[in-house]
């Protein structure tokens, strides 16, 4: 290798400028905002690290704007299919971009989109240093090792000895530990390893080899010869609109209307700590002209509740999804059954049209029993299941039409069809119709739905986004859903609807107002003591006002007030509120950054709880529910020890005015205070 002064200088400059651009938050604020908006609609501890990792990768290794591919644009997530189509169309028809300013000329690209995209692309000029910068950054391997520790400071009941048998409910210690390792070599090869122990899980469980409770690893190769992608180890598959086969990160209804249209990324290495939604084995995607063929084989042990029936073979009665193995019971379910999945996906893409055919077979090593309640009698039973799906999507002028038909081998067909159209440069609409029969079956089904699974539901969604100018953004949606069969806690067919409206106002680049209203009405069983339940309407309303401002180069603030309103026909109305103050401290050239929140909340109980996204250490996510009456505080810090080592901490404490004990069962804490510490160390080399 010849000594290249220019390259070294450019590398130093780029490393420096990179650091500046990042500040200390690492994730782009725009991206953080996207995740925040999506996160609040999802379960409390949903793992977004897949998405953040991907975006951070592109943040550090931006792609040349004239070379960025459709797949890469999809991976950025915040671009809608229409915008991606318009981008590629523009590049094709007007030739290479000469300047990043040209992005604003693309149809459907508003200023915010351009600003977001600018963070992940660059434009090369043969005479500038930028062209060499990307090369020099990529032509070596990068190692990223991270360790995280967290723990509640108050003892929970599960860790105390029972008075009766002197045993503890939880087998392990209250620490939560995560060891995470990533290796990337350019854009071609990457490897990842996650090892995790949840609070209460044992490091050396009786009769097992000591180690972390959950281990996940993979090696990923991209764009190498005939392989477009290949994974050995843990991976996820995302095809079509998620009705036939989708594992890993998935979004549905949210404040971002366009997130309803799922960006199917196909085969991806699995990097999350969620212990259920992934495959383990081999998978590869080959590309031949406009045809992509993905084949996959997975065989992995699953958590399962087993029961011994008269014959000697056990049967599966439940498939727990929590990934927690803290108690004897939970531990005995751990990896008790095996699921083998194999199949293939064919996709053609020609111009503005794409279509995919998915077929796969899944099999358990034991029989699964049908549900013995009325509501779950249509759930899967037996050993094997075959699934087939056909998805499509095409862009016609200003409209993207998409859909999927899915077949399960008990002769059921589920359908999803929708469109997204930018009917003027300021207005876009999304419409989606869904029809999921009560006995449609798929183990990897994450299509848009009100329920947690896309079965037993029909519905129609309509959404609207209006951006009159760069200061205002208004989004609204309405969704009607019906459940043709019973559900858990709903002893009759039922229906409901949801209304959502949000106004974002950015009077200046540094200030932002958000107004939000959400209404949801559903039916569920009454709370009366009777043998036959009747259904009652349950409505939930949320009102939110938020103000954020970047005061100067160092400080930013965010305030939020939120009200909740819960009403069930025969129960008293519950009204709650919460108010918080966030302060961010992020000096431009300092190694130290921090943010904190002080929140006060008062809700009569669980029904009127209020969810709010919390800042966390990098790659960690939480959207806790604020309920009961109390005060919550947290402080996040980050310290860059040097270019290679970063240290994060989080301390949080909730103090309840109206509780003597917090939580229930083995999770219970005696007292009115719960505090948690979190430490995270990263070493990049």
């Amino acid at each position: 290798m010849s000594f290249n002064r220019g390259a070294i200088i450019s590398f130093l400059i780029s490393a420096f400028s990179c650091n500046l651009a990042f500040g200390q938050t690492e994730t782009d604020p725009a991206v953080q905002q996207i995740i925040e908006q999506l996160a609040e609609e999802l379960p409390e501890d949903f793992d977004f690290s897949d998405l953040t990792e991907r975006l951070n990768f592109y943040r550090k290794n931006p792609v040349e704007v004239n070379r960025i591919t459709r797949d890469q644009l999809q991976e950025l997530f915040f671009l809608s299919p229409l915008q991606i189509g318009a981008f590629l169309e523009h590049r094709l028809s007007t030739g290479n971009f000469l300047s990043l300013l040209e992005l604003q000329a693309i149809e459907g690209f508003d200023l915010q989109t351009v600003q977001k995209l600018n963070a992940f692309v660059y434009i090369s000029d043969p005479n500038s240093l930028a062209g060499i910068k990307a090369k020099s950054l990529l032509s070596r391997g990068v190692n990223d090792l991270m360790f995280r520790y967290s723990q509640y400071l108050q003892q929970q009941k599960g860790y105390q000895q029972n008075e009766t048998d002197n045993r503890r409910t939880y087998l392990g210690s209250p620490q939560r530990l995560l060891l995470r390792y990533r290796y990337t070599y350019g854009r071609t090869i990457s490897a990842s390893l996650n090892m995790e122990k949840d609070a209460g899980e044992a490091f050396s469980p009786p009769g097992k080899i000591p180690g972390f409770d959950f281990n996940s690893a993979n090696i990923f190769i991209k764009d190498a010869g005939t392989f477009k992608k290949a994974v050995v180890g843990d991976y996820s598959l995302q095809f079509g609109q998620g009705l036939t086969l989708w594992s890993g990160l998935s979004f549905g209804k949210s404040a971002i209307i366009s997130s309803l249209v799922k960006p199917a990324l196909g085969l991806q290495p699995y990097k999350s700590t969620n212990e259920t939604l992934f495959f383990r084995g081999l998978a590869a995607t080959f590309r031949y002209k406009f045809l992509d063929v993905t084949t996959f084989l997975s065989s992995r042990k699953l958590d399962a509740g087993l029961e011994l029936r008269t014959d000697e073979k056990p049967v599966i009665t439940s498939l727990p999804q929590s990934g927690l193995h803290r108690t004897v019971n939970e531990f005995s379910n751990k990896q008790a059954a095996r699921q083998t999945v194999y199949g293939a996906h064919l996709q053609i893409r020609k111009g503005n049209f794409h279509s995919g055919l998915t077929g796969y077979h899944s099999r358990f090593n034991y029989d699964m029993l049908p549900g013995n309640s009325l509501y779950n009698q249509f759930y899967f039973s037996g050993t094997a299941l075959g699934n087939l799906g056909l998805n499509y999507g095409f862009t016609f002028k200003n409209t993207y039409v998409f859909g999927e038909a899915a077949y399960s081998d008990n002769n059921q067909i589920a359908l999803l069809n929708g469109l997204m159209s930018s009917i003027s440069s300021q207005v876009s609409v999304v419409l989606l119709h869904r029809y999921y029969p009560k006995n449609y079956r798929s183990f990897f089904n994450q299509a848009v739905s009100e329920s947690s699974n896309a079965i037993n539901e029909t519905g129609f969604y309509s959404g609207l986004t209006v951006k009159p100018n760069s200061k205002w953004e208004i989004s609204a949606y309405a969704d009607l859903f019906r459940f043709p069969w019973l559900k858990f806690g709903v002893d009759a067919p039922s229906f409901g609807h949801e209304l959502f409206g949000q106004v974002n106002y950015n009077p200046t680049k540094k200030t932002k107002w958000v107004l939000r209203y959400k209404f949801e009405q559903k039916q569920e069983n009454d709370d009366l003591l009777n043998t036959i339940n009747t259904l009652e309407d349950v409505s939930r309303q949320g009102y939110r006002i938020e103000f954020g401002s970047k005061i100067n180069k160092t400080f930013s603030i965010k305030n939020r007030i939120e009200f909740s309103n819960y009403k069930k026909e025969t129960l008293r109305r519950e009204m709650g509120w919460m108010i918080y103050q966030d302060i961010g401290f992020d000096p431009a050239k300092s190694k130290f950054s921090a943010n904190m929140r002080l929140a006060v909340f008062d809700t009569p109980g669980f029904n009127s709880r209020i969810y709010a996204y919390e800042n966390e250490v990098l790659y960690s996510y939480s959207v806790p529910a604020y309920q009961n009456s109390g005060i919550r505080f947290y402080l996040n810090t980050r310290y860059s020890v040097n270019r290679k080592i970063d240290l994060w901490t989080k301390f949080s404490v909730s103090n309840y005015f109206d509780l003597q004990t917090i939580g229930s069962g083995a999770e219970q804490i005696n007292g009115s205070k719960r505090s948690e510490v979190k430490l995270q160390l990263r070493y990049q080399f």
Binding site: I423, S424, S425, Q426, V427, S462, V466, L480, H497, L499
Partner: protein, 264 residues
């Protein structure tokens, strides 16, 4: 049989509040208080003050397809200098029970910015075997053009809470509507409206109209209370316009309607 009439009567009291504003406004969730059309005669009469040509329209609606009920309406707007006069008829019900309404409107614009209207209605309620009852009501409307794309509207119906004479325990609904409509790029109109019935119920509505090409308009909307979804389209050819709309309500199902209008 008496029991049956009782049911019909109760039912009609619930459904009665609807003065059918024609398929264009209906497809936009009935958020027509700040829109301008000959069908404004059935929603906010100030909307005809900007009309420059004689227009008329006839419409037919089946509230809840499958029932015997129907609504027939006819409207006519007649511009004379800076005034526009309007006539509207509506009959709602079935053979055994019907409500009829005839309205006379006087509308006027001030400098193409402000549009006002006054409207007098004569109502007849007929129940076969029981006879009929009559009453009057007054409506007043206002629209204001903030700029060429932005129009706001306000409408009051029957503020005097006129009731039927002749011992019938029924009244003409009193309601207040307020709304705004914004046009984006000549192709898209979004209309928002809030409505308060003096009986105590309030509703919020959002409608959107999209001119796909000059001949075809697509429409949709949502109202919050009761929750309803709406869709419709309009075909515009020469002097004729054909509009269709359907409203969907989770419990009672679909309510389709159609109208034909002609503009001289």
């Amino acid at each position: 049989m008496k029991y049956l009439y009782g049911i019909i009567f109760l039912f009609s009291i619930n459904a009665r509040a609807q003065v059918n504003p024609g398929p264009r406004f209906s497809a936009m969730a009935g958020a027509g208080v700040s829109l301008q059309d000959v069908w404004s005669l059935q929603q906010n009469q100030a909307g005809i003050a900007s009309l420059k040509r004689i227009s008329f329209a006839v419409g037919f609606q089946k509230p809840f397809a499958g029932y015997e009920l129907s609504t027939q309406s006819a409207v006519l707007a007649l511009p004379v200098k800076q005034y526009v006069f309007g006539i509207g008829f509506q009959r709602y019900g079935l053979n055994a029970y019907s409500e009829q309404r005839a309205g006379l409107t006087y509308a006027r614009s001030f400098g193409n910015k402000l549009f006002t209207s006054l409207n007098f209605n004569y109502h007849v309620l007929k129940i076969s075997g029981y006879g009929s009852a009559q009453t009057y009501s007054v409506e007043a409307g206002l629209q204001y053009q903030i700029n060429k794309d932005f129009l706001i509207g306000l409408h009051v119906a029957n503020p005097g809470k006129g009731e039927y004479r002749g011992g019938v325990n029924a009244s003409v609904p009193s309601r207040l509507q307020i709304g705004a409509a914004y046009s984006f790029s000549n192709k898209v109109v979004i209309a928002l409206a809030a409505e308060e019935n003096l009986s105590g119920t309030a509703d919020g509505k959002l409608g959107i109209e999209y001119k796909l090409v000059e001949l075809i308009a697509l429409r949709g909307g949502v109202s919050a209370n009761p929750f309803k979804q709406y869709a419709g389209f309009g075909l515009n050819y020469s002097h004729f316009t054909l509009d269709m709309a359907v409203a969907s309500q989770p419990i009672v199902g679909y309510s389709p309607q159609i109208a034909l209008s002609y503009e001289f």
